[in-house]
């Protein structure tokens, strides 16, 4: 009646796969960003679990850096989405055929 560490890793793998499928099937750029955040979180869960397995806090420090980089990525990404919406009046990823305009 207790939880082996592998269960957390399986949960993190499931969350990562769900996020990857979401990036593949959704068409709104904003929801795709949300799915990327979900994948980053599942990787953080893996890092924290391995930190516990190794009895070492380095994994938690790395997860902290992942959170910081994710925050920076969301800021720039959402600014890009706002620009895309100004150009296309839509956030549909399928309508974007070229990087330039």
């Amino acid at each position: 009646m207790s939880v082996p560490a592998g269960y957390y890793l399986i949960l993190a793998a499931a969350l990562f796969s769900i996020g990857a499928v979401g990036v593949l099937i959704r068409r709104s750029v904003i929801v795709m960003f949300m799915c990327v955040e979900l994948m980053l979180n599942s990787v953080n869960l893996t890092l924290v679990t391995f930190a516990r397995i190794q009895a070492n806090l380095d994994g938690q420090v790395l997860a902290f850096f992942v959170i910081v980089v994710a925050a920076a990525e969301v800021v720039v990404g959402l600014a890009l989405v706002v620009n895309l919406f100004r150009l296309r009046a839509s956030t549909d990823a399928d309508g974007v055929g070229a990087l330039r305009a």
């Binding site: 009646m1 207790s2 939880v3 082996p4 560490a5 592998g6 269960y7 957390y8 890793l9 399986i10 949960l11 793998a13 499931a14 969350l15 990562f16 796969s17 769900i18 499928v21 979401g22 593949l24 099937i25 068409r27 709104s28 904003i30 929801v31 949300m34 955040e37 979900l38 979180n41 869960l45 893996t46 924290v48 930190a51 516990r52 397995i53 806090l57 938690q60 420090v61 997860a63 850096f65 959170i67 980089v69 925050a71 920076a72 800021v75 720039v76 600014a79 890009l80 706002v82 620009n83 919406f85 150009l87 009046a89 839509s90 956030t91 549909d92 399928d94 055929g97 330039r100 305009a101």
Partner: protein, 256 residues
């Protein structure tokens, strides 16, 4: 450490039930995130997922990250998502139909394969009795699976927050400083990208055949084509339906 949290983090039945309930919430909200048609509902599912993962961090003896998860992710990042959703007014129903035939099926197959390979690669050695963190079997090296040592001793020495902070400002201080530069660059990038231009045509090179879609002209171009009754409403601000890129592109070619 409070008795409840101690019970939940020391490999007892409390940890099992916490894992089952919170894991089910995390999986359900993740599925809701990719299946909800409304983007605002998807963002709310994302908040639920982040909070569930924060609970898992607390159970995994990462108290500092649990608090940071709630403050930064659930508090700041999702609010930023919702702010942009409200700003753009794209809270209407998002079409889930795929343009590529069989896209969903292929994506699901890829997802299942990814899950199987990831789970086998990471979780495979850690499923036995010895992998119960902090248990006697793990500490003595008996039983199946790789041992999970547990953070109880590390956190008891000086606390999780002091331990993470000490690492952050000694071993990882260079990465920490680089991170501050990264945040400044991200802020400057957001300011530059968010600068409002008077004429959207400045965004493309002169002579390009692709011109940006302007909401008013896009309505006029789309109205005769699909005959949408509400497309010509002058005070709509944004076109109600999802305007395609094709009318504006054809319009741009005519103009040049």
């Amino acid at each position: 450490m409070t008795p409840v949290l101690a019970q939940a983090t020391e490999g007892g039945a409390a940890e099992l039930w916490t894992f089952i309930i919170v894991g089910a919430v995390a999986l359900g909200s993740a599925l809701g995130l990719i299946l909800m048609r409304n983007a605002v509902h998807a963002a709310l599912m994302l908040v639920l997922n982040f909070l569930a993962i924060a609970v898992l961090y607390a159970v995994l003896q990462a108290q500092f990250l649990a608090v940071i998860q709630v403050i930064v992710y659930a508090g700041a990042i999702v609010v930023l998502f919702l702010f942009v959703l409200m700003l753009l007014g794209v809270s209407r129903e998002d079409s889930l139909t795929a343009r590529v035939p069989g896209q969903k099926t292929m994506a699901s197959i890829v997802g299942v394969l990814l899950f199987v390979s990831l789970a086998a690669a990471t979780a495979g050695p850690f499923l036995g009795d010895a992998s119960v963190c902090g248990s006697e079997a793990a500490l003595e090296g008996t039983g199946d699976g790789e041992p999970c040592l547990g953070l109880a001793a590390v956190n008891a020495a000086e606390g999780n927050l002091r331990g993470v902070g000490f690492l952050l400002f000694t071993d990882y201080v260079w990465a920490f400083e680089v991170t501050s530069v990264l945040l400044v660059i991200a802020a400057i990038g957001a300011i530059v990208l968010g600068r409002r231009r008077e004429d959207p045509a400045e965004l493309v090179e002169p002579g390009s055949t692709v011109l940006p879609a302007r909401p008013g002209e896009d309505d006029a171009a789309a109205a005769p084509g699909d005959g949408a009754p509400d497309a010509g409403a002058p005070d709509a601000g944004r076109p109600d339906g999802r305007p395609d890129a094709e009318p504006s592109r054809a319009e741009g070619e005519e103009r040049t």
